[in-house]
Symmetry: C2
Subunit: 326 residues, 2 copies
């Protein structure tokens, strides 16, 4: 049986009026009360009736856009594109840099439940997946699994991993390492890693995995990369993002390793910033224009019709951009 407003009130230990005020964001409510109510809504999988919602005509024309940090060039370009596309459709973007802050990400989900935004595009990964298990809510995910009911848009990370490794191999590298983030469940870099491994297997070469966590500072990353390059005689490195590739090239220079003669390097992402200002870097380009258009279009479909039939996963092709580093 579908849970009712009264069930939420009972579980949260508040009155039905309070639940209604939380849902409609009406009047003053303490954060503690709001948290209790949202917690109960989550637990019961309660959702405000969509029909009632649209009958109220309470469209805010606001979209929550949650990414780890727009000061990272990849997210900066992606969010910039998303904002422009949504603006053209008469929506405005509420920006959330959620890096290292699950409570922040949670608060945006609560805004969605409270009808303060009409939908969410999420590319963050602090929250446990269970928090996204509200169905029917208009959420589209970039590049990671959040829940069965949240469609994922991503680029073909496996193919990207294969193409990158192939580029290194065809340029002559034989001992090829991968520098990548932590092996989180649902993380996009897993696919890149799998593509790397698959290509090496076909080529009968040994994989060499090194974790460089995304959230580390650049200085710590460089120290680690230096240790790795000194301790091994790699002649090729696939970095699962372009910024790590730039650090690797800087470290190689410090170690007087010539790129690409002694060490070949391939990055990943291929933002406009990298292609324009680092044309030397060989990288895998994610189709940022297509990704942002698809994210926006799917979200608007789901806002217009909460029951509309979307695929669970949309995977867009990537391509190799040849520089001189491999």
């Amino acid at each position: 049986m579908k849970p009712k407003l009264n069930d939420v009130a009972k579980l949260a230990g508040v009155s039905a009026t309070t639940v209604s005020r939380v849902i409609n964001n009406h009047g003053y409510l303490s954060q503690k009360t709001k948290d209790k109510v949202f917690e109960a809504m989550r637990e019961l999988h309660y959702q405000p009736n969509n029909m009632a919602r649209s009958l109220q005509g309470k469209k805010t024309r606001l979209i929550g856009v949650i990414f780890s940090d727009i000061s990272h060039p990849f997210f900066g370009e992606l969010v910039s594109r998303i904002e422009k596309l949504l603006f053209a459709q008469n929506y405005k973007v509420i920006l959330c840099n959620s890096a290292d802050d699950p409570q922040k990400e949670r608060e945006y989900l609560q805004m969605l439940m409270a009808n303060q935004v009409d939908g969410i595009i999420a590319g963050a990964h602090n929250l446990g997946i269970e928090e996204y298990q509200q169905y029917g809510l208009p959420i589209i995910s970039f590049d990671r699994y959040l829940s069965d009911n949240v469609p994922i848009v991503s680029s073909d990370n496996q193919q990207g991993g294969r193409l990158a490794t192939q580029a290194l191999h065809q340029a002559g590298a034989q001992k090829i390492a991968i520098f990548t983030g932590k092996n989180h469940a649902g993380s996009p870099t897993n696919g890149r890693r799998e593509g790397y491994e698959a290509y090496l297997k076909t080529a009968q070469l040994t994989p060499h995995f090194h974790e460089i966590p995304f959230e580390w500072s650049p200085a710590l990353k460089m120290m680690t990369i230096k240790k790795i390059l000194v301790a091994n005689d790699y002649d090729g490195v696939f970095c699962s993002d372009d910024l790590t590739a730039l650090l690797t090239i800087n470290v190689a220079k410090q170690l007087q390793l010539s790129v690409p003669d002694d060490l070949k390097v391939v990055g990943y992402d291929g933002t406009a910033l990298i292609r324009n200002y680092h044309p030397d870097l060989t990288t895998i380009e994610q189709p940022l224009a297509d990704i942002s258009e698809l994210l926006v279009s799917l979200l608007l479909q789901r806002i217009a019709d909460a029951e509309c039939d979307l695929e669970p996963m949309y995977q867009l092709p990537v391509k190799l951009v040849k520089g001189i580093t491999a």
Copy 2:
């Protein structure tokens, strides 16, 4: 005499009810009607009574943040910092990338007039200054003059221009050019240009100005830089932003000019991205942490008290970050 709601209605050729609905963003209104009403409000310098506003208790806890494009690393880092500071104060950010779109910038000012946001932080420059001549509205500007009633936060661009030119000169350069944006009224690069000129005058050297418009594509910028470097025998270039400095270094490489031996280069901005991934670049660092804290603190003061006494201009110190390019 202060203009009244009826005066706005009369000038706009609509009913007083319509004006009220525009101001309170209530019910369906065509864009044409809204434009007419806002136009009349602007012309008459009409503003909704602030007291009435706060009595309505209509705080949205939303702040409009308008910069040309967050895919530019400087604006990406600045907006990321602003968003984090505002979130900590229980405000959320509505993001506007206004590049090349005065209508977009205008629409955010209308949101402010219509009480849909509580305040605006603006670093864009599409609109004529007259559009910002509403007084009393909580707006803080980054780095450019908008109106007498809008405080400006900026870094010391003149001092930055002097420091950059001095660094080139002390590194041995004698024929020092500046690559900078167009000479817009109120643009921050004017100060950098003035500092450059002032230093050269003291050193009894001749200035060489070259305009590389900010909005040009990187490819066009590179073509232009190549022509300039081929046609002149500069041994030093001060670029008024770091990305142009990176392009200049790339062009020098193509022309087989050694940096810094044949050509010394100094940039401007010194974002975390540049300092972490291009530690070689000598640049002028703007204090982004202090800038964002001041922007947010001044805005919150003005939201709390529309009449509060703020300085017209807050100028923060810059510093030289020494790499190896000069």
